[in-house]
């Protein structure tokens, strides 16, 4: 696959897109918290991958770390909504009014709630810790892959991740989920299986800290 990508093989890029578009989009969503920014970051990630294909190392495993590194870069550079959000907040401090969700379909509301909760958690971390957590825990990269994605030493990935986990653990022990809004039920777990998977993944997250 790497050789075909380096060579600019059209079909290989089609495959690359099909295999990773979803993960790239999700990573962008976690970092930006914004649907349209995430779409753009995803699209731009693949365009950038095409244009920098020759920089791919000939040897190596999955190309996902490379793509997610580009996405992280794009997410940092695409805060188009920053001023709009600030301006909004200047007039409406605090959580957004629930009515904003009124016209959306049920699925969209769930999506928006889940995004708000995830982004709320990530938003409590420093940016660099947030990026590493999103790569290692949510996107499932290992330390080496995250280091490759961000262009930083593995030791730095470790220390950022451990700082992020410590903070998340502290937060989860101390307070209710902030994204729960007045007048709304706390978002329900998607289903029993989803909750179990979440726990398992969380366990993995803490175990890695000891064994990784």
């Amino acid at each position: 696959m790497r050789a075909r990508i380096r060579a600019g093989d059209r079909a290989a890029f089609a495959e690359l897109y099909e295999q990773h578009a979803r993960a790239v989009y999700n990573h962008a969503l976690r970092l930006t918290g914004d649907w349209s920014e995430a779409e753009e970051a995803m699209s731009e990630t693949f365009l950038a991958a095409w244009r920098t294909r020759e920089t791919v190392e000939p040897e190596g495993g999955s190309l996902r770390p490379w793509l997610l590194g580009i996405t992280t870069h794009k997410a940092r550079n695409s805060n188009r909504g920053l001023r709009r959000r600030l301006a909004f907040l200047a007039r409406y401090p605090g959580p957004p009014p629930v009515e904003d969700f009124a016209d959306e379909t049920a699925g969209r509301i769930d999506d928006a709630r889940r995004l708000a909760v995830v982004h709320d958690a990530l938003g409590r971390l420093r940016r660099q810790d947030r990026e590493v957590l999103a790569l290692c825990v949510a996107a499932g990269l290992d330390y080496q892959q995250a280091a490759e994605a961000l262009g930083i030493p593995v030791g730095t990935v470790r220390s950022r991740l451990s700082r992020a986990r410590a903070r998340l653990a502290r937060l989860s022990s101390g307070r209710p989920a902030r994204a729960t809004r007045p007048g709304r039920e706390k978002p329900e777990p998607r289903d029993a299986r989803g909750a179990v998977e979440g726990e398992a993944a969380l366990a993995a997250m803490f175990l890695q800290e000891e064994t990784g």
Partner: protein, 389 residues
């Protein structure tokens, strides 16, 4: 991994952590998934066409990237969307102290094509738009800055060259809901394409280096799914040189072409837009001078006696603050040469308890501007470098 090994068995993980640790959660609507795949495949075909199939198909000949019509939109693009290119100080800060509550609502603002600034705007926006000869308190200084810009020497930039700008920047790296924490100073280099026809891939390249940079030392291309013509959102030398040099005419044009974000007054939007045009660009002296004279006509622009850029260079500050916006940009000019040095951005309103009213959340310093023939190429001399105090 086994859930039984969860060390903190007494307490379940927070919902947020469960969601975070779960596999990919959201799907792009299938039509968007396909659209962006098309964008990629078409770019690949365009890039490969000249080398592999010299005889172009009609479809390729009329593809957006080679269209001779500067304003033609991409055929497959959805509704035209405001394109904003990455900016060093203002766009890079990921979070601000004020963001926490606003993030969740972003999608609905996007989804409901919100009306532009509501009644909170200051109501002064029509004065300058009609070309009234209003002046502000910074107009004398801006006149001197314009005169200094007029006296500089800039060589024309060709269509196939790149404008290179190297700057130092510090961005906010704090949490969304905590105080702003400026990250370490790092270097940002950009190579902006000067091609005037619409481009989607090849708008420019960014290379960041130093502590805190993502992919440090690597050039990352700037692309857009929608082709962007040279213009107010992609200010090439050629486009900038085509602008009126009469300040009133120029201001009318800028008021007409600047879109307003929610909660922002038109005056503020135009002031911010001019800041974009000054940042990572090269333009003829007459156009730079006209921009500064135009700023002198925007209501509410004020002067700050002492401002400092990311490189620690002190100078004169120019800024604008209005009731409708929560942020404020400052531009900094060398006290002697009156050359543009850099910029700072402040959060001016933060209604959370204990928040300070004026918080620096981004700062930069332009260290070098030059014109080069290829992206990735660094200028050999320091021509066109703004004087470094």
């Amino acid at each position: 991994m086994n859930a039984d090994k969860l060390p903190s068995a007494g307490r379940g993980p927070s919902e947020a952590e469960e969601l975070l640790a779960a596999p990919a959660e959201w799907d792009l609507p299938p039509s968007r998934h396909l659209h962006f795949k098309d964008v990629l495949m078409q770019q690949i075909d365009r890039d490969c066409a000249p080398a592999q199939t010299p005889a172009r198909t009609p479809a390729q000949a009329t593809s957006p990237a080679v269209s001779p019509m500067p304003s033609s939109p991409t055929l497959e693009a959805p509704a035209p969307r405001r394109v904003r290119l990455p900016r060093p100080a203002v766009w890079l800060p990921v979070a601000s102290a004020a963001l926490a509550g606003a993030l969740a609502v972003t999608y609905s603002l996007d989804g409901h094509s919100s009306a532009p600034a509501t009644g909170t705007s200051t109501g002064t926006s029509t004065g300058a738009a009609t070309g009234a000869s209003g002046v502000n308190s910074a107009s004398v200084t801006l006149g001197r800055i314009a005169a200094a810009a007029m006296a500089t020497d800039t060589k024309p930039v060709k269509d196939d060259q790149f404008v290179y700008v190297r700057s130092l920047t510090r961005m906010n790296q704090g949490t969304f809901d905590g105080p702003v924490q400026l990250g370490p100073l790092h270097t940002r280099e950009v190579w902006m394409s000067q091609v005037s026809t619409p481009v989607s891939a090849g708008i420019g390249w960014i290379r960041e280096s130093g502590k805190g940079a993502v992919m440090p030392g690597q050039e990352v291309p700037v692309d857009s799914a929608d082709a962007v013509p040279a213009g107010i959102d992609r200010p090439t030398y050629e486009w900038l040189s085509s602008l009126p040099t009469d300040p009133d005419d120029l201001l009318r044009l800028l008021y007409a072409r600047t879109t307003v974000d929610e909660g922002e007054s038109k005056d503020q939007a135009v002031y911010g837009k001019i800041g974009d045009l000054l940042r990572e660009t090269v333009m003829p002296p007459a156009n730079a001078a006209a921009l500064y004279k135009a700023v002198a006509r925007i209501p509410g622009v004020t002067e700050i006696a002492d401002a400092v850029d990311a490189a620690g260079r002190h100078g004169i500050g120019i800024t604008r603050e209005d009731a409708a916006s929560a942020t404020r940009d400052e531009w900094i000019f060398d006290r002697k040469s009156l050359a543009y040095l850099g910029s700072r951005s402040y959060i001016t309103k933060d209604k959370r308890k204990g928040a300070r009213p004026d918080t620096l959340f981004g700062i930069d310093a332009v260290m070098q501007r030059a014109v080069v023939d290829r992206h990735g190429e660094e200028p050999t001399s320091t021509r066109a470098t703004p004087s470094s105090a």
